[in-house]
Symmetry: C2
Subunit: 459 residues, 2 copies
């Protein structure tokens, strides 16, 4: 509460300042990314991938170009909410009595309420440009499904969403949002696909899983010539689209003459984390001295500790082994994390690009327990007003921990974290936190070893 009126707490950019290119970190890796492999252990052919993705998306997925242009049509839809504000959390700083400067990029301002539309809009546009009129996807908590529903509506693409049954029943309002934007939403397992029918035959009351919903969405896309599939994280092109976050943040820091010392983001599949961190790693790769000591911290739940306790190995992207194998940190494709509320962070694997950067020590993973994340999220809400999504609470926890360390050392570090979304559809999770019903959960080493024992054998 000590700031004067001359200090702007929100650094805004004009629509004309929306970046014109995405940044592709693959161009700056010390070795090229390992290719995805098919069931035969050989790199998957483009023809095979083209069954479910249009070529213009596959070109981005495999590109080693550093900068890829953002189509004008995508920038125009981005302009409905972008550039997103870069905000200084001066009230949180005061509450923590820290000399650190805490900034957050507010990605909760999109129509769907998170960073996810950054890629959904791009995917919908490239599919539209490739003549596609229909897309399928899966959604767990509903953030990605909402985003693709919104994006499809923007470009006249029909969207069919397979929503994990348990979420479909528990989160009716996310479903309502998707329908408002004109998408079809079905509970998965469904009767619409072979995968779904098989699952229902085995268990008519199946609650579904993200892996199964992926199988249904991919099966339908592969079986229909007019339909493609869209994925909300993990893959290179998704992370690419999300770099709009960090690229805007760089422009905003330039306006106030600062540069971050620490960049923090939640990490599930990894697209929002890569999205905010990679553009700053580009500076480091380019020899920019300001970025020499930059720390990039990827925050995951202790209950799904992919980067901190997983193996770096080839594994399937889905639970059933339907997708190509990717080289990544993984807990094993049949690892089943407990039902924590940060649904976006319940994924057994991680983006291959982020995984490689963790191996190269350019990204620092940390795991935090659930209760501490809600404590941090509530503190943030009381200081800055915004009620954060449970995923974002992971980043806030780590940001507060770093700020408290600065209080000990007296360092005036500049901390940037990614506020990936608001918690308006997650209030039941806050209720459980306030009522004391939430618990922490740390996976036993034996359980992780058991699922890692099922990793596919490659080469």
């Amino acid at each position: 509460m000590s700031q004067t009126s001359s200090q702007s707490m929100r650094i805004l950019l004009d629509q004309s300042e929306i970046p014109t290119h995405w940044y592709n970190v693959a161009a700056d890796l010390s070795t090229p990314p390992a290719p995805p492999l098919g069931p035969d252990g050989k790199p998957v052919s483009v023809e095979k991938m083209a069954e479910i993705f249009p070529m213009n998306i596959l070109e981005q997925e495999m590109s080693l170009e550093r900068w890829l242009p953002i189509p004008e049509e995508v920038r125009q839809i981005y302009a409905l909410w972008r550039p997103a504000p870069l905000c200084r959390a001066t009230r949180l700083e005061a509450m923590l009595k820290t000399p650190a400067k805490i900034f957050y990029k507010n990605e909760s301002v999109s129509p769907a309420g998170s960073h996810k539309p950054n890629s959904a809009v791009a995917q919908a546009w490239f599919n539209h440009a490739a003549g596609i009129r229909r897309m399928t996807t899966e959604t767990g908590a509903g953030q990605w499904g909402c985003s693709l529903a919104f994006a499809g509506q923007m470009f006249g693409i029909e969207v069919r969403i397979y929503m994990v049954r348990v979420s479909y029943d528990q989160k009716p309002f996310r479903r309502s949002m998707m329908r408002t934007w004109g998408a079809e939403v079905f509970a998965s397992p469904s009767e619409l696909t072979q995968s779904g029918r098989m699952a229902l035959a085995q268990d008519p009351n199946s609650e579904g899983s993200l892996g199964l919903a992926i199988s249904e969405a991919v099966e339908e896309a592969a079986s229909r010539a007019d339909t493609t599939y869209g994925l909300g994280s993990v893959l290179n092109h998704v992370v690419l689209h999300q770099t709009i976050i960090g690229l805007e943040a760089k422009k905003q820091f330039e306006k106030i003459g600062l540069y971050p010392d620490i960049i923090i983001g939640p990490c599930g599949g990894g697209s929002s984390f890569g999205g905010i961190a990679f553009p700053f790693l580009a500076d480091r790769a380019a020899g920019d001295k300001r970025a020499n000591n930059l720390r990039c911290i990827a925050v995951e739940p202790t209950s799904c500790p992919t980067l901190t306790r997983g193996a770096y190995a080839y594994d399937f992207g889905d639970a059933s082994g339907y997708t190509p194998m990717m080289k990544m940190f993984t807990l094993g494709h049949d690892f089943m994390p407990p039902g924590i509320h940060a649904g976006g962070l319940r994924y057994h694997g991680a983006s291959p690009l982020i995984s490689q950067l963790v191996r190269e020590k350019l990204v620092e993973p940390v795991a935090v327990p659930q209760l501490a994340t809600f404590e941090a999220g509530t503190q943030f809400a009381c200081a800055e007003g915004i009620i954060p999504a449970p995923e974002s609470c992971h980043a806030i926890r780590a940001a507060i921990d770093e700020a408290l360390r600065c209080r000990e050392t007296g360092e005036e570090k500049v901390i940037l974290f990614n506020l990936t979304g608001h918690g308006h559809f997650d209030m039941a999770a806050y209720d459980r936190y306030f009522s004391g019903a939430l618990e922490d959960y740390e996976y036993p080493a034996a359980a992780i070893a058991a699922s890692l024992a099922h990793l596919p054998k490659v080469g």
Copy 2:
């Protein structure tokens, strides 16, 4: 979709451009506002009002000064989300094939998701400045309760909220938000007050009403020296605080060299409508020719047609006749509107200031049926992304109707409407709309005549 990249769809202001004064329309009325009356039919004394409001708020309530300063501390909290964007709905214009230019002021960007914090923050600050540490209020749908909870947290004021029982049970997530910001929330009727205990004695399963919740909150504030009461609409000081909306919009229109021909807002108690319209009426009062033909349209539901079918008379502000009587348009204090989803518009009366301006033909009331508002809201969401609150859908309906009229006449009118809030906590209403369960309701004339027959006799 036809705009070029050079056209900014969002007109932003810097924090330093947040207005420094609110506009008080009472200074520009042709006759002074009629005073509130006590049960004896005489103007209520300041001493009586001071039982529940601090003097600095009462001074605003009674002021005839044209401009009242916004304290620096209030501007600093406003800066967490203000200035709010003025947006041009170019995609909606294209969808409607209208030559009209449609703008909306996006008040959904506040932490509580609506315009309500504009007054809540001011009320919390003035109470804090007057040495008050505790406030009570009531809430129906939850927008106002959330806003005062948030605002109280900003200035260290304890907030106790009486939430209408039926909302308390049906809208648990609004309740969770209030608790996140540290407020106490009780279902009304409660055991905490005499009014509540009497209601429970009559009906232990009472669903409550806004009028009863007001009685509980006022009773507690009147009975405790350390506690005051905060109201979220209707009163002059609340409308005053909301003029920040229109004052910002004026600056934003100046930046693009335009001036609105038509200003549209939903109207329940009236604070958001007054907030966007009054600053433009100030121009008209000052002889500004651009405002000569300005139309200000207050949109209400046909199911609660206060301004279009009510009487202009003294009436109580609450259902039970506990508050002073105010000169306003009213359907009678015991009028019971059906349970439409735009909870913020279910009020039997209207702001005395707006009522007077309707009488003076400076504000034009229209009533719209519920189904047509959801149709408009869905169309807006598909064009512009944002899913609007049911209250806002009323303004959108009227804005679309005006834009369609422009298509007929070829006029390129500039239309401004108030997007008062998002619909994230109203998705159940959208579900009912999509499922065909919603109905329109027009009040029979006899029913309105019956409640108007109970108006208090004055003078």
